[in-house]
């Protein structure tokens, strides 16, 4: 009886200690540094990828017309408000002409005065002309009388002199008329100039467009070149996009683009690269491009809104392709961990183009069909024990 009881106790003790020992072995070998590292693998396939570029930019108006005075002055009136549609030639506002109108009136009076002067000069010509005709007749008559010995030579010479005086007076009167005519021309031209200047103070729209800014109010003083009203062409909007210079080779005009405005995240619009700027931004290391909406937008997005632009480049020829998560850097070399029957092997690679979904073309180093490690629980080395799983622990499906 006592023997049985001791046996039972021994069994009970073993029943407690055996699972403990098993748990200990599990704890020591299956967790911590000695445990195999869970990894996921993928097969390198030969496929074509479509590399894309991603940039951000702001919506801008292609043409902005800044309408303002050409000389410093005071704004007299502004007829339009922000948001108004205006037509080409419409009066948007006017600068204060100060004394310009009065100077035009003065020039008008001066012109009338000049015209009166012309009439007077014409009258003087008539007078001089009459005197000359009479003096010619007198001179002829005295010549005949002198031939008949009726008048003295002195009298004849006096008439000849009168004739020459009359001729000179006529010439003077004619010159006077010419001078008066030219004076009238000058005043007329001056007046035309003033009228032009007056017209220049009227701020007109050059195009059919939309008023986006009204930067001065009546009464405020603006300097030459400062804009009072800004007008844009609503049909001509583009996105000024900045692409990181890394991998921006291949960006060129005409490529299709996808534009996502910040206000409409998720709803993509189609566009087209209009041009790639010849000047890149040297400070931010970005290439600059203009992307237009294609087809043009029916409703206008706010100018200055942020936009994300993806440009699809032409598809590349087939090459071995793997996810970029498979690429590791070991000892200064980029490569992938190839899983084979012998275990893990680090294969240095040369990377080619990649697309926005993270697929990378591998130009050298692995062949299609080889199995490579994509994700790993820890950093790997050539002696790591691995366990291939579908999904790493802790990652949601």
């Amino acid at each position: 009886m006592k023997r049985l009881s001791r046996h039972r106790r021994a069994l009970a003790l073993i029943a407690v200690l055996a699972p403990l020992a098993a748990l200990f072995a599990y704890a020591a070998l299956r967790s911590g540094p000695l445990a195999p590292i869970p990894v996921t693998t993928t097969v390198v396939t030969s496929q074509s990828i479509v590399p894309s570029l991603f940039g951000i930019g702001t919506v801008e108006a292609r043409y902005t017309f800044q309408i303002g005075p050409t000389a410093a002055g005071r704004v007299r009136q502004v007829n339009v408000n922000v948001g108004d549609f205006v037509r080409a030639g419409q009066l948007l506002g006017e600068m204060d002409p100060v004394d310009l109108d009065e100077r035009i009136s003065a020039q008008a009076a001066a012109l009338e005065h000049a015209q009166a002067e012309m009439q007077a000069a014409g009258a003087r010509i008539g007078d001089a002309s009459a005197r000359k005709t009479f003096a010619e007749a007198q001179a002829r008559r005295y010549d005949q009388l002198f031939a008949k010995q009726v008048v003295s030579a002195e009298a004849v010479e006096a008439k000849q002199q009168e004739l020459r005086v009359a001729q000179a007076n006529l010439l003077a009167a004619e010159a006077g008329l010419d001078a008066a005519r030219r004076e009238a021309d000058r005043i007329s031209a001056d007046r035309e100039g003033l009228i032009r200047q007056r017209a220049n103070l009227r701020l007109m729209s050059m195009v059919d467009g939309l008023v986006i800014k009204r930067s001065a109010e009546p009464g405020s003083t603006v300097i030459a070149g400062q804009s009072v009203v800004e007008v844009i062409h609503p049909a001509h909007l583009w996105v000024h996009v900045r692409f990181d210079q890394l991998g921006s080779a291949g960006l060129r005009a005409g490529l299709p683009a996808e534009i996502v405005l910040r206000s409409a995240a998720g709803g993509a619009m189609t566009g087209q690269v209009l041009r790639v700027e010849p000047l890149a931004d040297a400070v931010t290391e970005e290439a600059l491009a203009k992307v237009i909406f294609d087809p043009p937008l029916a409703t206008l997005p706010p100018i200055g809104e942020l936009a994300e632009v993806s440009v699809a480049l032409p598809a590349l020829p087939q090459a071995p392709t793997a996810p970029n998560a498979a690429i590791r850097r070991i000892g200064g070399d980029l490569g992938v961990w190839v899983v084979s029957a012998d275990g893990l092997r680090f294969a240095p690679i040369r990377m080619g183009a990649h697309d926005l979904d993270g697929q990378v073309q591998i130009l050298e180093g692995v062949q299609p069909g080889e199995n490579v490690v994509v994700y790993s629980q820890r950093a790997l080395d050539a002696h790591s024990r691995i366990k291939i799983v579908d999904r790493l622990p802790g990652v949601a499906p």
């Binding site: 001791r6 106790r9 021994a10 009970a12 003790l13 407690v16 200690l17 403990l20 020992a21 748990l23 200990f24 704890a27 020591a28 967790s31 911590g32 540094p33 000695l34 991603f54 940039g55 951000i56 003083t221 300097i223 070149g225 400062q226 692409f243 990181d244 890394l246 995240a265 400070v283 931010t284 994300e308 996810p323 970029n324 998560a325 690429i327 590791r328 850097r329 000892g331 200064g332 980029l334 990377m351 990649h354 697309d355 926005l356 979904d357 993270g358 994509v374 994700y375 790993s376 629980q377 820890r378 950093a379 790997l380 999904r391 790493l392 802790g394 990652v395 949601a396």
Partner: protein
């Protein structure tokens, strides 16, 4: 043939096993405390490993970028790339902040990394899901510890980012999980104020007659634009060619580029020796006290276990058992108790370690050392017990 110790243990096995369990939990706490200490140091080292850098170039006279703020111009890396021995150099920014997810926010270290191929300095060395960042804006790689998943939209300052990849064990020196975002976004995040502050700043600038001059129409816009740009980064991470000495390259950059440079060893010194020095010493001190207390408790348990059997020992002596047999019995029991305690402790520590909010690193070496110490303490305390047991008078068996 079952030994004397075995027979004695079987006699009261329940008491023995439960004592072992109690002892085990105490040893488990001690092992965990050692793991917490190791985890702290490991967090600091993993930060350096994960940056993939051989050299850290930071602002002069700072211990940046982890231990002190450092800011340098973001185009300095071009000059550093020209230094002999440098194979790649990349800007990086670090900013610890709250990152907002769909319905909660997480304290995280936001790391700005220069776009480029995986393997570039600053890029996480491996992923556990998703992919590396391919767009130069508004994508993020988050650590598993943040709780974010692939496809989640997270908010940093006023911008939204899509989580495209997950990492594991990418933490700052204080254990905050990392969120990697493109450098330009990170520069903005580091500098960008909230919209109200920006509006106020614009208004303040416009009110300043020095900046808002009627005769210079574009000046105000230019001033505001320059006020809202951030051409700074916290550090340049440098990778070296394998045949170049880090010290030599560091000295060249220090001397000719007029910047502070730290090598891996110096950085580790800064992180472990300065940044986490106080907190790790705190944990270390606690670990020492815990170890001493555990040792004392083990010794007391074995002593009282032996004392409880003093009468049986007296009987054994009375029937003429040799002293060596009695001593062996006590020592075997003590060591057995220690082994059970260690096994329970190790199992307990292994199973509760992953539930700590910060990393707990249980090294096999530490476990081995712990095992040796436990056995040693058991042997030492059993020696005291043996001394008392051998001095017992056999008459006590009858007299008591």
């Amino acid at each position: 043939m079952i030994s004397l110790a075995g027979r004695d243990i079987l006699h009261a096995w329940g008491k023995f096993v439960f004592t072992g369990f109690g002892l085990g939990l105490l040893i488990g706490v001690t092992l965990s405390m050692a793991g917490i200490y190791r985890g702290m140091v490991e967090d600091a080292k993993v930060l350096l490993d994960n940056s993939g850098a051989d050299l850290w170039v930071v602002q002069q006279d700072t211990l940046g970028p982890y231990a002190e703020p450092s800011s340098i111009y973001d185009d300095l890396y071009r000059g550093i790339l020209g230094v002999a021995g440098v194979t790649s150099a990349a800007n990086a920014t670090y900013l610890t902040m709250q990152v907002r997810g769909a319905d909660s926010d997480v304290r995280a270290m936001v790391v700005g990394i220069a776009p480029g191929a995986p393997g570039k300095p600053g890029q996480p060395p491996y992923l556990i899901a998703g992919r590396y960042i391919t767009r130069s804006h508004y994508e993020a790689i988050a650590d598993l510890a943040t709780g974010f998943n692939i496809g989640d939209r997270i908010q940093i300052r006023r911008n939204h980012y899509t989580v495209v990849g997950l990492t594991r064990r990418m933490v700052s020196s204080s254990g905050d999980p990392m969120v990697f975002i493109p450098l330009k976004d990170a520069q903005e995040a580091q500098f960008l104020k909230d919209n109200d502050a920006i509006v106020r700043q614009r208004r303040r600038t416009a009110a300043n007659p020095a900046f808002n001059r009627p005769a210079v129409p574009g000046l105000l816009d230019a001033v505001i634009a320059s006020q809202s740009a951030n051409p700074y980064v916290n550090a340049v991470l440098v990778q070296l060619a394998p045949d170049h000495d880090a010290q030599v390259v560091a000295e060249t950059i220090r001397r000719w580029k007029r910047l502070q440079v730290y090598t891996r060893t110096q950085m580790e010194e800064i992180l472990v020796g300065k940044l986490i020095a106080t907190s790790s010493r705190q944990i270390g001190m606690f670990l020492v006290i815990l170890a001493v207390v555990s040792a004392a408790i083990v010794a007391f348990i074995i002593y009282t276990l032996t004392m409880g059997k003093i009468r049986e020992i007296a009987v054994l002596k009375l029937i003429g058992t040799r002293n060596r047999t009695i001593a062996a019995m006590i020592m075997q029991q003590a060591v057995g108790l220690g082994v059970i305690g260690f096994v329970v402790g190790k199992i307990a520590a292994t199973f509760w370690a992953p539930h700590f909010p910060k990393y707990v690193l249980l090294l096999p070496g530490d476990a081995m050392r712990g095992f040796i110490v436990v056995v040693l303490i058991c042997v030492l305390s059993s020696l005291v017990a043996i001394r008392i047991a051998l001095k017992v008078d056999p008459a006590e068996a009858i007299g008591g």
